[in-house]
């Protein structure tokens, strides 16, 4: 018993102060992409040709980056001769709309609007989620799971992951939703009583990500479920996920440290 207490003292209190303060992220962390307003060289498609998931491109309005397809690999930043694409250290990537993930030079940032009053009132102090991994590579799963450890202590926000969809207020999907998991994903969502929330965690769950176009995957959760929150990343940092969840419930979260 004594050794347990002594070890408890040695290990110390390690819960992060978030959202009161922003914990440091590693210097090389690749967060929210930033598109510079300077024009592209005529005919240059270096970045779009380099992007492994087709997240980056140009249309009649000019250069765009679809964060819902981006795996934040950083290839485009190296490929662009004009340095128009760079990666900031801003961890706040979540959006409450799919369209809100399409970034443009000087355009608006991804934004999470709180749930509408009826569901916000129900879930603001207690949100139970059933997580469904549907082709996730276990990175999104791991960095979602880590929220339940003492470091992030998700329970202090009234948010928890539960075993049964019957006990849940919503579903959080990871992975590109494989053909073989489509039925189970839909069945799990259907088993959650209404009103409920739908959340896509990770780029795969938003658009199929790297696996988009494979006949064995179905484009993530977006085509199949009504979603209230899209959290991009490959995988999203735990603070990106937590930031999105808290803002969905109407809480204030801190900006990244300079």
């Amino acid at each position: 018993m004594l050794n347990i207490l002594l070890e408890r003292l040695r290990q110390g209190k390690r819960t992060v102060a978030f959202p009161a303060a922003m914990p440091p992220l590693p210097p090389r962390f690749r967060g929210l992409p930033v598109l510079a307003e300077s024009p592209c060289a005529a005919g240059c498609a270096s970045c779009a040709g380099a992007c492994p998931t087709g997240a980056l491109g140009a249309d009649e309005q000019g250069l765009y980056l679809d964060l819902g397809r981006c795996i934040l690999c950083g290839t485009c930043a190296e490929a662009c001769p004009g340095r128009r694409v760079s990666f900031s250290r801003d961890h706040r990537l979540a959006s409450s709309t799919r369209d809100g993930l399409v970034l443009r030079p000087g355009g608006r940032l991804p934004h999470v609007a709180p749930l509408e009053p009826a569901r916000r009132k129900l879930f603001a102090k207690s949100l139970r989620l059933r997580q469904v991994s549907a082709g996730g590579c276990n990175a999104c799963e791991a960095d979602t799971n880590v929220l339940t450890t003492i470091v992030f202590d998700l329970g202090r926000f009234g948010i928890d992951f539960v075993a049964s969809p019957r006990h849940a207020d919503g579903v959080a999907v990871t992975g590109p939703v494989t053909r073989n998991m489509l039925e189970a994903t839909l069945g799990t969502f259907a088993a959650v009583p209404d009103p409920r929330v739908g959340i896509a965690i990770g780029t795969c769950a938003i658009s199929g990500g790297l696996f988009d176009g494979s006949p064995e995957t179905t484009g993530g959760a977006t085509p199949h479920l009504p979603l209230d929150l899209y959290i991009p990343g490959c995988p999203p940092h735990p603070l990106t996920i937590l930031d999105g969840l808290l803002r969905l419930l109407g809480q204030q979260t801190p900006p990244p440290t300079a």
């Binding site: 590693p26 962390f29 590579c137 990175a139 339940t148 003492i150 073989n180 790297l210 696996f211 064995e216």
Partner: protein, 494 residues
């Protein structure tokens, strides 16, 4: 055709054997201590021919065997049980029938792509083992499990609390990656490698890098290789720590569970310090690594490593001092060395049965001496041994990283592979990931593109080991046995 690791060889050098000789050659080698590392189909004129890669741990030799295209062949499984899942996989993918295989159930429930006219089975819907009798009952679990975990379907055949047999039916995570690798390498290839099993990003991307380096005869700068190997051991530390914590949690021992959950993240954050991503995305590339370490970063890594070492060992010590925990661990989920050898276990579960199988020793990467990281063996074969092997491996990895950071060679971190890939070659990349041996085999076509790219995650060998470990156990010990293996679903399903 025999060759050493990290050397590509011409495909034409492997004689194309008739089925009887192919089978005889494999069985003779397995009897002589070789292991089956991969068995896969290679499309060639006249149909699909089987290819088998064997490895010998004693001296790191590899053997590549080919069989003439045939619609059926005498099954290896009755004489070589480690072939059972490979043969089911080849049957599902190509429709090639191993005659005499005990039970050709689907592996990934894709139907047979080579025979699109046949219906695709529904996932998990197939014949299962059934125990009959008034006292027998069946417990079916999944695909969606209670927790944040990948999907799979488990069926327990029980009498009261006792499990007679556990059948594991996977395939729910199948993303079709191997099919997408054909015709590569392209701009998605390295990212597929990093997500084959997302918790083994470094292990798989390093195996792929070794394979490409062998094909292109690229000499990796010593500094780049050292940084990749540091990341490989950090990945092992993070996951072994997480596993010890999860095993503690499964027997209700909260202190170690709580601490390890946090310490696992501390190790992941060290990988984040190296390359910006907690899982090592973007770090390992063919020819070396994409990020160098400057002196302040090395100093910070060393100081945080020391703090994390103390925390991890403190948490582990509590676990191994708790008599109630040890009482649950000891004797639970045992696999004998003989069974482990027969079914081809790899990684910590194999080393916990006393089998000296470690790709870092048998098949070291160029520039990595086989003896620079000691192998940890234990021979009790159960949960306790699998926990202890992990704990000892953490110590070895920490010592390795410490020494590697102190003595990091000077110079560049990457040598870009020159030009495209040579055509008509076979190359192999082997690394010891935290779950065990990762094997990548590629055959290039005449155009220098991948004509076949086979990935064998350690989970592919080890899932059956979990089923065997649970025989005769109480069903309530399943979570503990499961966590003591902690296998990958997507790495198996690909």
């Amino acid at each position: 055709m025999e060759f050493p690791h990290c050397q590509a060889v011409p495909l034409a050098g492997a004689a194309v054997l008739p089925p009887v000789l192919f089978r005889r050659e494999i069985l003779a080698r397995v009897d002589a201590g070789w292991r089956m590392l991969a068995l896969f189909g290679l499309p060639c004129p006249g149909g699909v021919g089987l290819c088998c890669l064997l490895g010998r741990d004693a001296d790191g030799r590899l053997a590549f065997l080919r069989q003439v295209p045939a619609e059926s062949y005498p099954s290896l499984t009755p004489d070589c049980p480690q072939a059972h899942l490979f043969e089911r996989e080849v049957h599902e993918q190509w429709g090639i029938v191993p005659q005499g295989h005990p039970w050709l159930k689907p592996v990934r429930f894709t139907g047979c792509p080579a025979r699109p006219e046949e219906p695709r089975p529904a996932p998990g819907v197939t014949d299962h083992f059934r125990l009959r009798g008034e006292e027998a009952h069946e417990v079916a679990v999944g695909p969606v499990h209670a927790g944040i975990i990948e999907p799979g379907h488990f069926r327990f055949q029980c009498s009261g609390e006792d499990v007679y047999h556990l059948e594991i039916s996977l395939g729910f995570q199948h993303r079709g990656i191997e099919a997408r690798l054909i015709g590569g390498p392209d701009k998605r290839t390295i990212h597929f490698m990093e997500t084959l099993a997302g918790d083994t990003t470094i292990g798989h991307s390093l195996a792929h890098a070794a394979l490409v380096e062998a094909l292109t005869e690229t000499a990796v700068p010593a500094r780049g290789r050292a940084i990749a190997r540091i990341a490989l051991e950090l990945e092992r530390l993070a996951n072994h720590t997480g596993d010890l914590g999860a095993m503690a949690g499964d027997v209700g021992y909260q202190p170690t569970m709580a601490y390890c959950g946090r310490i696992r993240g501390d190790f992941l954050n060290l990988t984040g310090l190296v390359c910006g991503n907690r899982f090592g995305r973007g770090l390992v590339r063919p020819g070396g690594v994409a990020f160098d370490l400057d002196k302040p970063t090395i100093r910070e890594l060393l100081s945080r490593l020391e703090l994390t070492r103390r925390a991890a060992f403190g948490a582990a010590e509590l676990l191994f001092l708790s008599s109630t925990t040890l009482a649950r661990f000891e004797g639970t989920g045992r696999v004998s060395a003989e069974t482990a050898r027969e079914i081809g276990l790899v990684g910590p579960p194999a080393r916990a049965c006393g089998l000296p199988r470690d790709a870092r020793h048998a098949f070291p990467l160029p520039g990595a001496g086989p003896k620079d990281i000691p192998m940890q063996l234990h021979d009790f074969g159960g949960v306790y041994a699998r926990a202890l092997v992990r704990r000892l491996e953490m110590e070895a990895s920490l010592d390795f990283i410490h020494d590697a950071l102190i003595g990091l060679p000077e110079g560049p971190v990457r040598q870009l592979p020159a030009g495209g890939l040579p055509g008509g070659m076979v190359a192999v990349g082997l690394t010891e990931g935290w779950r065990g041996e990762i094997c990548h085999v590629a055959v290039t076509g005449d155009d220098g593109r991948f004509a076949a790219y086979k990935v064998v995650d350690p989970s592919f060998h080890n899932w059956f080991g979990l089923a065997v470990a649970l025989r005769g156990q109480q069903i309530s010990d399943f979570p503990l046995c499961n966590k003591s293996f902690n296998l990958s679903y997507c790495g198996h399903d690909l």
